[in-house]
């Protein structure tokens, strides 16, 4: 084989769907244009065309995991189908090496009249697995699918969850070099989804994974790299986190655009604004005393404490902000409660996250908010000012300065890099326009953590072991 098992090379791939009014027109299209050319007459097309994919090129190396994101109709499934070989490209090439297992849409490739057992057998044959091999894996497939008696029933009687369970179980047992998963996990229940995720994580270690999802969280969680398709064109190909964030910003802009509000996603937003107004003073909120982890004092005294180092807000972060622009965030800080900005804190300490902003156009009811994200861009926690102010909306005129303050105890964080997105919006919790969203406004690093598992640790109010009656 020319190509390494598991690698995918896509070159200038395009797909034109030919939409035929009648099936017979498809046959005419195959024959008549050649006849007309031979008779030296004008060629005529018997279809309406629709370009589902336009000149897409990328290369996936063996062992890479690539997420593909984009809204409905962006060409994701078309792309995957061509990679699998079920669709013929109109132009361009797909080269793949090794065995590809695909989970495309629901119940891919099952014969609805056959029982689960028969479909397992048939799929095995399609993947080129020998009878003996298949027999030895059969029990394991049935256990993975875990659909009980239904394995002996025709697949047409299955629920959508059972379909996916069986399909995934088979795909997991064919020793694929490349696995293609198209939005298939969304119909399984929590236990099964987790089982699949465990399998996918294991699979990633040696195989190539192409993963399509509408859920940016799942893409971030699983993929190092992401490709963003929009209307059949590839808009971005790069580190998953950057691509997903761009995609989300663009989505927000598109959502608001349908409501007639303009949210600009570009690099040069607010470039020449320089309004300096005094900050309105917010009341001192005091430091909460109730949630101090009893280990805090001990930990603070020893090397085990979870040190968190904060890096400064860099207001020249071009390309990491978007918004409609009625308010501009001009500074973000982490402070000791009511005090000075800090460079270093530790888990369990109270901190203030302060967001300063200038009002550029008269607005009402601003909502400030933030998210703390981990290295992968998964949102760990965050909050906003909506509920605290929704019954007393602020009316603000042009030129006002604002400072929003969130006081919280820094949770325990696993060792790693973190960042904070801050944003100010107008509207309500459910329907709002982002006026200014600054991605990675603050970055910080956690070190020396006692925490190993989970995304965020919370302070424990008490930890004890007691003797009880056996």
């Amino acid at each position: 084989m020319l190509y390494e098992n598991g690698s995918i090379v896509v070159e200038g791939l395009s797909k034109r769907y030919e939409i035929y009014a009648r099936p017979a027109d498809r046959l005419k299209q195959m024959i008549l244009p050649k006849v007309r050319r031979w008779m030296r007459r004008m060629e005529k097309a018997y279809f309406q065309e629709f370009w589902a994919l336009h000149d897409v090129s990328f290369t996936v190396a063996r062992g890479e995991t690539v997420g593909i994101i984009g809204c409905n109709g962006s060409g994701k499934s078309t792309l995957l189908q061509m990679v699998c070989g079920t669709l013929y490209p109109t132009a361009g090439k797909v080269k793949t090496g090794g065995r590809i297992a695909a989970l495309l849409e629901l119940g891919a490739g099952f014969n609805p009249e056959f029982t689960g057992r028969e479909n397992i057998h048939l799929s095995g044959l399609l993947y080129g697995i020998t009878d003996a091999e298949l027999r030895s894996r059969y029990q394991s497939i049935v256990e993975f699918a875990d659909i009980g008696e239904f394995i002996e029933q025709p697949v047409k009687t299955y629920s959508s969850g059972m379909y996916v369970r069986l399909a995934f179980a088979i795909a997991a047992h064919v020793d694929a070099d490349t696995l293609i998963v198209d939005e298939a996990l969304s119909v399984g229940d929590v236990r099964f989804t987790q089982k699949c995720m465990r399998f996918l994580r294991e699979f990633q270690k040696h195989g190539t994974l192409l993963f399509v999802s509408h859920d940016p969280g799942a893409v971030l969680n699983l993929c190092d790299r992401a490709i963003w398709l929009d209307k059949g064109r590839m808009l971005a190909d790069g580190p998953a986190r950057e691509v997903v964030e761009q995609y989300l910003a663009e989505q927000h802009a598109a959502d608001r655009a349908t409501l007639g509000e303009q949210v600009v996603v570009q690099n040069s937003l607010f470039k020449d604004e320089s309004i300096n107004a005094g900050a309105t003073h917010l009341p001192d909120m005091g430091v909460p005393k109730d949630v101090i982890d009893p280990r805090q004092e001990i930990l603070n005294g020893c090397a085990k404490r979870n040190l968190i180092e904060v890096f400064e807000f860099d207001d020249t972060r071009i390309g990491k902000e978007f918004g409609a622009g009625a308010i501009r965030i001009r500074g973000v800080r982490m402070c000791v409660p009511g005090g000075k900005a800090i460079r270093m804190t530790s888990a369990g300490e109270a901190v203030d996250l302060e967001i300063d902003a200038n009002v550029l156009e008269a607005i009402e009811a601003p909502i400030f908010g933030f998210y703390v994200k981990d290295r992968l861009g998964q949102r760990l926690f965050g909050d906003n000012t909506y509920f605290s102010y929704h019954d007393k909306p602020l009316k603000l005129s042009r030129g006002t300065g604002l400072r929003a303050r969130f006081r919280f105890r820094m949770p325990i964080l696993p060792v790693g890099d973190y960042s904070v997105d801050v944003a100010v919006a107008t509207g309500t919790q459910d329907s709002h326009t982002q006026q200014h969203w600054v991605r990675d406004a603050l970055v910080f690093q956690a070190s020396d953590s006692t925490m190993r598992h989970g995304l965020v640790g919370i302070p424990m109010h008490a930890i004890e072991i007691e003797r009880i009656a056996p």
Binding site: Y20, R26, A102, F110
Partner: protein, 274 residues
């Protein structure tokens, strides 16, 4: 990607069979089983069905019509058995032809969702039909043994007759399966065409009934040579016309080659309209 065949190779239809043999067998088995799924007697139907049909024919043609095959063969039951040998051949063909027209549409999943060797569906249709032919032939021989206490040795040549027939049947399935995707009306036309072919072959009457100068047209019916050969080896105990069978084999293989190439060329369009 799809397995590719060198269509210039006249043996490509059989490479499709060799390459997907396990799949073909599996699909054919499934096909046979599913026909009687849920019925109480299951597979017994494929044996009793032809037996009961034979009884009906015996009653109508033998008892009511007093039909005779020709001057030499005057026994009514003999007429029914000779006719039955021809009908079995015709059934094998019409079963495959009729189902071929909807084969691809019914397996839309295999067109769109997985990389499936669609070309092997033709062979599995032939395989399922072969099974039914085998059972019906056994039924015929059982009656023959009971009624005449004798089965001619030429029965052993029957597999050869059918082997000559198979490329033609497989080719028909490829051609109709492909056309059936694009021309949905073909399904209706095929029902008429298969009965026309059955009645225009010497199945209900001997070819000798046809005046000599018209016989050439009867030989254009693809069922004629095979039906006559079946009657000879299964009932008359005569050797088939090897020259006819040889010529038939050549034409049949050429047809299969062309139909296979057509199928492979047009399959790219299936996904657009299924």
């Amino acid at each position: 990607m799809h397995a590719t065949y060198r269509l210039i190779d006249p043996l490509s239809p059989y490479r499709a069979l060799a390459r997907n043999y396990a799949l073909v067998v599996q699909m054919a088995k499934r096909d046979v089983k599913s026909r009687y799924r849920g019925s109480f007697m299951g597979l017994f139907w494929s044996f009793f069905n032809p037996l009961l049909m034979l009884t009906v024919y015996a009653f109508v043609f033998g008892v009511l019509f007093h039909a005779r095959w020709n001057r030499h063969e005057t026994n009514h039951l003999a007429f029914v058995l000779i006719m039955f040998a021809g009908i079995n051949v015709s059934n094998m063909f019409s079963e495959c032809a009729t189902r071929a027209t909807t084969q691809i549409i019914e397996n839309a999943n295999y067109v769109k969702r997985v990389v499936f060797p669609l070309e092997s569906l033709s062979w599995s249709a032939v395989g399922a039909a072969l099974f039914h032919l085998l059972v019906a032939t056994i039924a015929l021989l059982v009656i023959e043994l009971v009624a005449f206490h004798h089965i001619p040795w030429t029965v052993v040549l029957f597999p050869i007759v059918i082997a000559v027939f198979m490329p033609f049947v497989a080719g028909t399935v490829w051609l109709l399966a492909s056309l059936g995707v694009f021309l949905r009306d073909i399904k209706q036309a095929i029902v008429i065409a298969t009965s026309a072919l059955m009645f225009l072959a010497p199945i209900f009457y001997p070819l000798s009934m046809i005046p000599g100068k018209y016989r050439i047209f009867w030989y254009l019916d693809p069922l004629t040579v095979i039906a006559m050969a079946s009657q000879k080896v299964l009932f008359f105990g005569e050797l088939p016309r090897w020259d006819h069978l040889g010529l038939y084999l050549i034409v049949s293989m050429l047809f299969a080659w062309g139909a296979f190439a057509w199928f492979q060329r047009t399959r790219k369009g299936f996904a657009d309209v299924v």
